[in-house]
């Protein structure tokens, strides 16, 4: 058995995927690749108001003043094509992209459809339609014994058409279902042939003598026995969505609206593929032509739509552009979701996804160098560390240097406070300090401790450290090649 997914007016559906509310109003789709641009698709309300294919946009607006003009977009059609393949993959591993908006599925071997139970097939087809509706796409589905019959069923059926009696079904179809040329269609009409059944009642060789080789194609299209191998397609592991605004937008709200329309279908497609998103790539094309690209890492891969949307929302809150935004595209980099079993006695995060969201918000607001888990660098230079995303679940057990071998904790000033220091004596000990932290004669100084490192590298450093008492404060004074600094205070 085969199933065909037929999406009527596929270019228009692709263009309105992220604006499904426009289907209830008059919309005309214009192909900008043609000169002049002509209407190539329209919604039912537009058709009822007198707009038709082949009109120019101006003519369409003259017939229907409030018709919304949308431009055909190859990027949006490609995204819709990807989405349909990925949805179909969740229902059958054998898929063919037969034509734009037409997909053929081989149902052989599907356990849920064993026994050719019509009710089971209707239920299965309803699930496929529901999955496509999550992607804001409407499809008609035909199920039959051959790809040809299934395609006819999808095109000429109501919504879900199951072909149980192939001969009766093909015989009831109009001749137009076989797509004859206008000349042949006129001849058949003159002969009084109204449906395929009447055509098949004629002797094929006599029809070929009168109509030529095209008649052979008509009989082949009407065949209920011939099946063909599918040219199988594998859905790409890329999850893209794109949208171009009719008018450039200057505020965040329209961007968020469209991004939410992106995130929900992407999340659904990831779920059907059994994948999660480890990174989001947001591309904004500005009115000036500049393209801004931002790669947003997701610390814990997920496909939950709310979390993905909040990552985007947090980033957009801090984004400023010089020009309005004309188009945007979103790509989700897929990966296998994490599978980890925690130990029974390990302290774990109560809600890891909530924590990642909090971390993303703090990082977006303060910067990645301001939030995270400090890790000391492999150097003796004091206060050398880098910030990494926290990973509490893989934190090492208690080990490491004896705590008594570590220095006494101080409160550090970042950046170090420049100071004017007067010295005296053979060891040039500081005796007077002037800086924003303290000023005056130093009551007592302890030191110096000479520290240096990385001398074999361009970033070689050297320091002379003193502990000095200024008033009631015990300060860490440091002399470097570029002067004196107060690095911290004992507290």
């Amino acid at each position: 058995m085969f199933a065909v997914l037929y999406l009527p007016q596929f270019p228009l559906q692709a263009a309105l995927r992220h604006e499904p509310e426009l289907w209830t109003g008059p919309v005309a789709l214009v192909d900008p690749a043609r000169t002049p641009s002509l209407v190539c698709g329209l919604t039912d309300p537009a058709r009822q108001r007198g707009v038709s294919e082949g009109l120019t946009p101006t003519q369409a607006m003259a017939r229907c003043g409030d018709v919304a003009i949308r431009h055909r977009s190859s990027a949006q059609e490609a995204a819709a094509h990807q989405a349909i393949l990925q949805c179909a993959w969740g229902f059958s591993p054998h898929i063919e992209a037969t034509a734009p908006g037409v997909f053929t599925l081989d149902l052989r071997g599907l356990a849920c459809l064993s026994g050719n139970d019509p009710e089971g097939m209707v239920s299965w087809a309803a699930q496929v339609r529901a999955a496509l509706e999550c992607q804001h796409l409407r499809a008609r589905i035909g199920v039959g014994p051959t790809p040809n019959l299934s395609r006819h069923a999808a095109r000429w059926g109501a919504g879900i058409e199951i072909v149980s009696d192939a001969a009766a079904f093909i015989g009831s179809l109009p001749v137009a279902a076989l797509e004859p040329s206008s000349d042949v269609a006129a001849v058949l009409q003159n002969w009084g042939i109204r449906n395929v059944g009447e055509l098949l009642a004629l002797r094929p060789e006599e029809v070929v003598d009168r109509l030529g080789l095209e008649a052979l194609a008509l009989f082949a299209a009407a065949s209920i026995h011939v099946t063909r191998p599918l040219n199988l397609a594998r859905p790409p592991e890329c999850f893209d969505e794109a949208y171009e605004f009719e008018d450039a937008v200057e505020t965040m709200e329209p961007l968020l609206f469209i991004l939410r329309r992106f995130v929900d279908p992407l999340s659904h497609r990831l779920a059907l593929s059994g994948l999660a998103a480890e990174r989001l790539i947001l591309r904004l094309r500005l009115d000036s032509g500049e393209v801004l690209e931002r790669r947003l890492a997701i610390p814990r891969p997920t496909r939950v739509a709310d979390i993905l949307f909040r990552v985007l929302h947090t980033h957009l809150e801090t984004l400023r552009t010089d020009s309005p935004v004309k188009a945007l595209a979103l790509t989700a980099d897929p990966c296998r979701p994490e599978q980890k079993q925690l130990g029974l006695f390990e302290a774990a995060l109560r809600d890891p996804q909530q924590f990642q969201e909090t971390l993303a918000r703090l990082t977006a607001w303060l910067g990645p160098e301001r939030v995270g888990n400090p890790v000391r660098e492999n150097t003796h230079r004091p206060d050398a560390f880098r910030m990494l995303p926290p990973d509490f679940e893989n934190a090492p057990e208690s080990s490491g240097p004896n705590p008594d071998s570590l220095p006494v904790p101080i409160r550090r000033f970042r950046p170090s406070v420049p100071a004017e220091v007067r010295t005296c004596g053979e060891d040039n000990a500081p005796v007077y300090l002037k800086c924003t932290v303290a000023q005056g004669k130093l009551k007592r100084v302890v030191g110096p401790w000479l520290v240096s490192g990385d001398w074999w590298q361009p970033c070689a450093w050297e320091r002379e450290e003193w502990d000095a008492v200024a008033g009631e404060k015990v300060l860490r004074l440091v002399r470097k090649p570029d002067g004196w600094f107060v690095e911290g205070i004992l507290d």
């Binding site: 995060l349 888990n373 008594d404 006494v408 409160r411 507290d491």
Partner: protein
Amino acid sequence: MVTQAANIVQLRHLLAGRFPHLRQGLPSARPVETVPTGVGALDDLLAGGLPRGECTELIAAGAGSGSAQVIHGLLRRVAADGQFLGLVDGADSFDVNAVEPFVLARLLWVRCSRVDQAMKAADLLLRDRNFPILVLDLKLNPAGQLRRIPSSTWYRFSRLQEQNPCTVLVVTPFPLVGGAACRVRVAAGLGAEDTGLAPGQLPGRLRFHLVDQAGAEAEPAFRAG
């Protein structure tokens, strides 16, 4: 008169149940769970440690008070217990060098430069509900910025703690936190000679004084009858 007295007692019990962290002059109905700080003197003073799920203010006035030693001690104790801790550093003053790597691995460090950043970060972490312990270090922030913190902020924090029992330690240079379950003043008078001590010896130099504690038996504000 007897009816009025009974109504007053009933009202006091109702208030105590609704706002347990406020002082009502009533004895605590249940024993308070504590979170050990790793600083012996402080744990002894607080009968075990910081009250779990409550806000404790550590007033560290002046220089050399020892508040950084308390934070490091708490961090080591939390790591030894296998937990993790969030530190909102109001002036980016945490000393990474003085902590073992395995302890750092259990720390989320939020480096702020202003009080408003620190308060917002603390608000986010309290709403996160993942951290059992949160330290808000405002010791080095300017007094002018600290005084501009609306008092409603602390009230909002206590409401968040009601929903999520996170133990909060706020380190301040002067009394600041409205509605803190416990206020402790720390003083040590650390001097230059203390820089040569081992870190484990320093907590013994710290002196703590309990300023205020909710639920402590005290003379009731008024008597019934």
